[in-house]
Symmetry: C2
Subunit: 338 residues, 2 copies
């Protein structure tokens, strides 16, 4: 990001017709958007998109979720038909939906909203071996970058990251633990809403995976391969592509945050293009956002994924940019000052 | 609100293709919207509007704000010309803007976005006598209801309350203290951003006003007259009109919350049609929302008023309604359950 453009935005906020600082977090966001765009006022995003990366997880065999694996493929079909939460929220904020199959075990049917880049039919059980090999992690990341490239080429000026994958909060917790150094118990949560016994098992599985692999946060690709998911790798690639193109990325919940940690480890400046859409109820999200230095815009106790929490923040991003371009200054409006 | 429609929405949320409860506060909001509409799914608001009630305050003479009184009229002109924060945020969410002059001391020029119902040229100093008499408070409330009536007649299906009035966080604090019984120091804040000395003076002024009038919360009109503002009375009237018409009302900051307390005191069921758009940085807002039993949707540290924080919540209201009408159930989508 461009510090001079951010500074211009900061100074402009002092001249707009409102008490200084009275728009709170919206001012801070506008200042960041100016830095991302390298211009003040920053452009108002007009064509947002949500990229929902989908994959399956061998660790599901350990019993970390009560939901059956076929739900991943069933939900991908639901996304394509427009019946999921991500569709309703994307329609609310005028966002395009693109689904990326990077490894749905049951396979997916062709659809105009779906891109297939199936690296493998789901990961292996990360608690007993590597989830995938480094080449597979790299291929998934590249598939995410290619999906983002298609979107940006076709006009997307704000990307929301989304995920689908039954069992994917377990690799997400592993990634957050690996990249932040926090213990499993602190970053592992109830996902879709598991009971106490399943949560205890899930924490143990994360601990076992961390003990087995000893993932090195300075080797982000190796960490993704050892304890990550295909959709996490794909979202990391999408985030890196957007950051390189100066397109702001709105993060959704725990899987997006885990992918963002991987992206920031691969390229630290990429965090400058990330916006934390919301604070997921999943505890690892708060840990990840703190490590990334990001403050979430919304906190509605959501824990669905799919990009839903990120989509709800799109109007806030638009509003933050819009006040910088459309509000009059005290001089322009002939308004006295306090 | 209609408890049966809310219960239908609650049950429907358990059948939609997502883990139960995973949309958090958005589910709770949708359940409330169904109750307001008396139907599940509730309609998705397509024509929101923000009503910005403007008035001046005799208590400004006590030095409670560094901003000069003429700023109220200057900002009304800024609203009409489209240069204020409320205009940028209304445009972002597709809301109509209507400004209501219920007592701008310097007067206002005619404009298509402006309605004039000037009850008096600002209130008297509430720390030394009644801000206005009961008839004036009633006339201001009626002017607010009439403005809301015009909006609803012309299609508004979601009202955001907004305010403009230099010095108006002092009467707002008085109203919150009067209706909740909390002490002045707990509900009085920095408004536009006053320094410690001015805040101490402001707390004393609120204490003096409460001691002078001993406002009775069971006499809401008398309380508005003694320690309120013309815009607070107007917004209370607008809220009551919308509640009677089952139109949801999104509250903005401290002045809207103070008006909402008056409305709820006049008609307790009206709180069932209120949505807390955001948590203002002004401390009285949290106190008022708690008394109203409302959880704020956003918390961005905003303290501008004008309806800005309420407008930012409009997409959340739309999203909450939309998931209930557009999402598929497990059966419809052929998705397995956990």
């Amino acid at each position: 990001p461009d510090a001079a453009a951010s500074e211009t935005a900061r100074r402009r906020h002092l001249r707009l017709t409102k008490p200084p600082g009275s728009l709170g977090g919206l001012e801070e966001l506008g200042i960041r958007l100016a830095g991302m765009a390298g211009a003040c006022p920053p452009p108002v995003p007009g064509r947002p998109a949500v990229l929902v990366a989908a994959g399956d997880h061998g660790v599901l065999g350990r019993g970390v979720s009560p939901w059956p694996q076929e739900v991943t493929a069933e939900m991908v079909r639901n996304f394509c038909r427009g019946g999921a939460a991500v569709n309703a929220l994307a329609a609310t904020v005028g966002a395009r939906v693109l689904v990326l199959d990077v490894g749905v075990a049951a396979g997916t049917e062709p659809h105009p909203l779906l891109r297939k880049a199936r690296v493998r039919p789901g990961t292996a059980d990360l608690s007993r071996g590597a989830a995938m090999d480094r080449r597979e992690a790299a291929r998934a990341a590249l598939a995410g970058a290619e999906a983002a490239e298609e979107l940006v080429r076709e006009g997307t000026d704000l990307l929301v990251t989304g995920d689908m994958g039954i069992g994917n909060t377990t690799p997400a917790a592993c990634l957050v633990a690996a990249f932040t150094g926090r213990p499993a118990a602190e970053v592992t949560g109830r996902g879709t809403g598991i009971d106490d016994a399943t949560l205890a098992l899930k924490v143990r599985v994360v601990e076992e995976a961390l003990a087995l692999h000893g993932p090195n946060p300075e080797d982000p690709l190796g960490t993704l391969a050892a304890v990550g998911g295909l959709e996490h790798a794909a979202l990391a690639g999408a985030i890196l592509y957007c950051a390189a193109r100066r397109v702001p990325v709105v993060l959704d919940g725990i899987s997006s945050c885990a992918a963002a940690l991987a992206a920031a480890a691969l390229s630290p400046p990429s965090s400058g293009y990330m916006v934390a859409g919301h604070l997921s109820a999943e505890p690892g999200a708060a840990v990840a956002l703190k490590a990334l230095g990001l403050k979430p815009l919304l906190d509605l106790g959501m824990r669905l994924g799919e990009g839903t929490g990120g989509l709800l923040a799109v109007p806030l991003v638009r509003a933050a940019a819009r006040v910088l371009s459309e509000m009059a200054t005290f001089e322009e409006a002939g308004v006295s000052e306090g």
